[in-house]
């Protein structure tokens, strides 16, 4: 199973805000063992989806050249349960961003109702201690961004389309030849 907890981006304003959807499906493995007989989407996986959306928003701000990791969850409030068949709309907003990391505020909406709200601190792993450490294989990461349809919707602050960074394009060209 892929560790992917958003289905696609529907909006992406570089350095500011992103919206992603997550369709909760009964075929997902978490329903096998989590609260048997009463299928619930684990709140931790909703948090993970919000963190994935937020982490990509933070990473894109630096052209995906920083190693962005979830450092701390300052707040996580779940107002409502999510179950198979639900579509969750995740919105993540950068509250603050600097070379050390970022603070992101996230919400999950279910049919327009506030389902969850979180505050997440992301850190950038520094070069001094993590030189040579890559969190992702570049070409696979780039493909993942395309599957999320990030570049279909991503805009910069002037409303111009955001392009795939050249270092990711180069990795794709080298491995996939495209």
């Amino acid at each position: 199973m892929r560790w992917i907890w958003i289905d696609r981006f529907t909006a992406f304003e570089s350095g500011h805000r992103a919206v992603a959807v997550k369709n909760v499906s009964f075929t997902e493995e978490q329903f096998d063992d989590y609260t048997p007989g009463y299928p619930l989407m684990p709140s931790t996986l909703i948090l993970e989806g919000l963190a994935q959306a937020g982490g990509l928003l933070v990473g894109e701000h630096y052209d995906f050249k920083e190693r962005v990791v979830l450092a701390k969850v300052g707040k996580a409030i779940f107002h409502e349960l999510a179950t198979p068949g639900d579509t969750l709309t995740y919105t993540v907003v950068i509250e603050d961003i600097k070379p050390d990391g970022a603070i992101v505020r996230g919400t999950s909406l279910l049919e327009g109702r506030l389902q969850a709200e979180v505050d997440i601190v992301f850190a950038h792993l520094d070069d001094e201690r993590f030189q040579g450490v890559d969190l992702f294989i570049p070409e696979e990461f780039s493909q993942m961004l395309r599957m999320y349809r990030l570049y279909d919707v991503a805009k910069d602050s002037d409303g111009n389309a955001v392009e795939v960074p050249e270092h990711l394009r180069a990795a794709e060209r080298e491995v996939y030849g495209v």
Partner: protein, 131 residues
Amino acid sequence: MAPNKDEVFAKVQEALVDALGLDDDEVTANATMVGDLGAESIDFLDIVFRLEKAFAIEIPRSELFPEDILTSADYVQDGKVTEAGIAELKARMSFADLSKFEQNPVVQEFGNLLTVGDLCRYVETKVGTTD
């Protein structure tokens, strides 16, 4: 107008309560950030974000956390900060009381030094508090 000392303390206290999940009365001026309040390294990033927002200031990492001094061969010998290093720390961190650390300047102990009061004094220097 710059906030006075009480106002600075109130905002610092609020930032620490929120960042570390504490009660107001736990955040006293003499409490050490790491030893008494349980702050971990990642919490400092959160705290810095909150203080920058609360006071509309920029906090360069090296001002609060002088890692460059503490990892410099010029200022550290056998795991202890040298006299020159102490002088450098004092110059950089005039808001902190280093007298205790000076008695046994083991680098590893430095993280335990910073108190809530130090943090307030640091903010006061940034925002220009005079009373």
